[in-house]
Symmetry: C2
């Protein structure tokens, strides 16, 4: 592999999260599947926003959160995602750049607002997301700079992008450019319902062009249409070169060929908001790989980064993760 | 006093806070006086925002925070303040209404954006504010509904409004309507620099038309141009019917005629962000008065509400304050 400018480049939806609290009855009343992400129209998000409690606005987006995590760990990261020329677009751009992530995608005028996700956090810390994609659906192949992909050791792709035809094409293009340049391609399945919508294409991509697969329990069982996690894990190990399966409080499992490594969670005194747990796990794991850590230590770094994010509201780190990693002996 | 619809109506700037972290060197470099509020132009706020770290957006505004605190304590509150028809205006309106505060001021189109304050929090928890007033400067007498003032037991006025001539006129009008209707008028001095700008007018208002005066140490010493707090307190007691002086970690002092009551702070394990401490103290104190609490217990309720707000980022309560007050035996 030749020299690269970035450890990881992420491609995903550029989203500002509006985070509020609610109880389970609220979710049920609004037909919002708990712990999942659902795509909603402008009218639905208006209704939900009008009935939910006070919110806090924090930049988010799955792959974007992961890139910010990598930068906070001391890595070099870039992000590609579409924002509009509006207030939320300015918030997103400011926050990701202020976190030292390279972000050069131009703001697009007049094609709908910047994406937003109403995230409802229940007293158990679970997050339920209602995402209005807005301008994100306009991400197209023109936005994916081949030179940026070629100069990044890993390209990290967010499964959510599959919900938009143009973005899916951009996504495939990035994977193909990365493969040709000898770079690694990482994919996160994003959400169980998202997997249901795109199962066949995800499987095809995983078997042909993905080096590192991230999924949680509901996503991997959705992919293989089984309720048996062990069965899903066995099939993931056979279909992918390296599969990283996160299981919330049950830790994570790293599968590489015959190798099978269990990583425990890092205990958190007070779980406030699970938003971003998977995103930050991916940040720690990917950065660990770029630093030559063993799979086990990369997994531990993922668990550590996830433990910081679930101890407060929002999916962007509030403490420098490099300091945390050094204090825990995972980075020197 | 006849029946009222609201315990308290607040008049102030309708602001969305953009909260980030920085060190003391950053404040010094940008010539931003620590722990104070300064008014800045659009260009200055752009420069500051461009250089500060990632932020979190949370609704704010001093009197608005106080009204939300009163509602959270179980009181009925209303707010008057000017927003623009933009994203931040929608955030402000949503959050205050979702907190059960009546807010009916119409959004104004095309007169500048909704007010915003860049709040920089240093590691010691102190907050330094850079406020761009935008549309707030357009609050005028037409916005102050006399019927609303007359139907509220207390009208609470934010000193910051004195920075705008039209708002100052609206402010005086509200105080006069309240006095005629036999309602109480409460005033917070807001900030030491704000007092420097409007000392003579503040003194005149306090002596003629204020029933309850709130000030912190820097504000009350600025008002009386003395570095001696005891001297300032003595003069405040003589100039006002009821003066409530907050002194950060040193607790607060309630002065009513010859009476002088010291209230200790409620200890907080981890002070995260002092933004809103004074606003929430005022919420607890004012709500306590409307519930017939003694001055001492009203002060204790103020201290308790302040202790919740400084334990997290942002000046809006994250826990229901009525539950907290009942758990501490201050409300039944």
């Amino acid at each position: 592999m030749t020299d690269t400018c970035y450890d990881v480049v992420g491609i995903g939806n550029a989203i500002v999260d509006i985070i509020g609290r609610c109880d389970d009855a609220f979710l049920e009343h609004h037909g919002t599947p708990k712990s999942h992400m659902r795509l909603v129209e402008a009218a639905t998000i208006e209704t939900l926003y009008g009935t939910m409690g006070p919110g806090i606005e924090v930049s988010g987006g799955s792959a974007a959160n992961t890139m910010v995590g990598i930068a906070s760990l001391g890595g070099s990261a870039a992000f590609i995602g579409k924002i509009a020329d509006d207030e939320f677009g300015r918030i997103f751009a400011h926050d990701i750049r202020a976190a030292n992530v390279a972000f050069k995608t131009a703001a697009a005028a007049g094609k709908g607002p910047t994406s937003r996700s109403l995230i409802l956090v229940t007293p158990d810390g679970e997050r339920t997301m209602n995402t209005f994609l807005g301008i994100s659906t306009n991400l197209d192949q023109g936005e994916v700079d081949p030179a940026l992909i070629e100069s990044s050791a890993i390209v990290y792709l967010e499964g959510y992008l599959f919900d938009q035809p143009e973005a899916k094409a951009a996504f495939r293009q990035a994977a193909s450019v990365a493969a040709k340049a000898g770079r690694k391609v990482a994919l996160t399945l994003s959400d169980g319902f998202c997997v249901d919508r795109h199962r066949v294409e995800f499987l095809e991509l995983i078997r042909s062009n993905v080096d590192i697969l991230f999924a949680n329990e509901s996503e991997i069982t959705a992919l293989y249409e089984t309720s048996n996690f062990d069965e899903a894990a066995r099939r993931a190990a056979s279909d992918s070169k390296l599969a990283v399966l996160t299981r919330s409080a049950h830790g994570s499992l790293i599968l590489s060929g015959e190798e099978k490594i269990s990583i425990p969670v890092v205990p958190v005194e007070n779980v406030v908001d699970l938003t971003g747990a998977g995103d930050l796990y991916a940040a720690g794991f990917l950065f660990g790989l770029t630093q030559g850590l063993s799979l086990e230590n990369a997994g531990k770094l993922g668990s550590l980064a996830a433990s910081e994010i679930i101890s407060h509201v929002g999916a962007r780190p509030q403490k420098p993760l490099d300091t945390l990693a050094r204090a825990n002996g995972l980075l020197s």
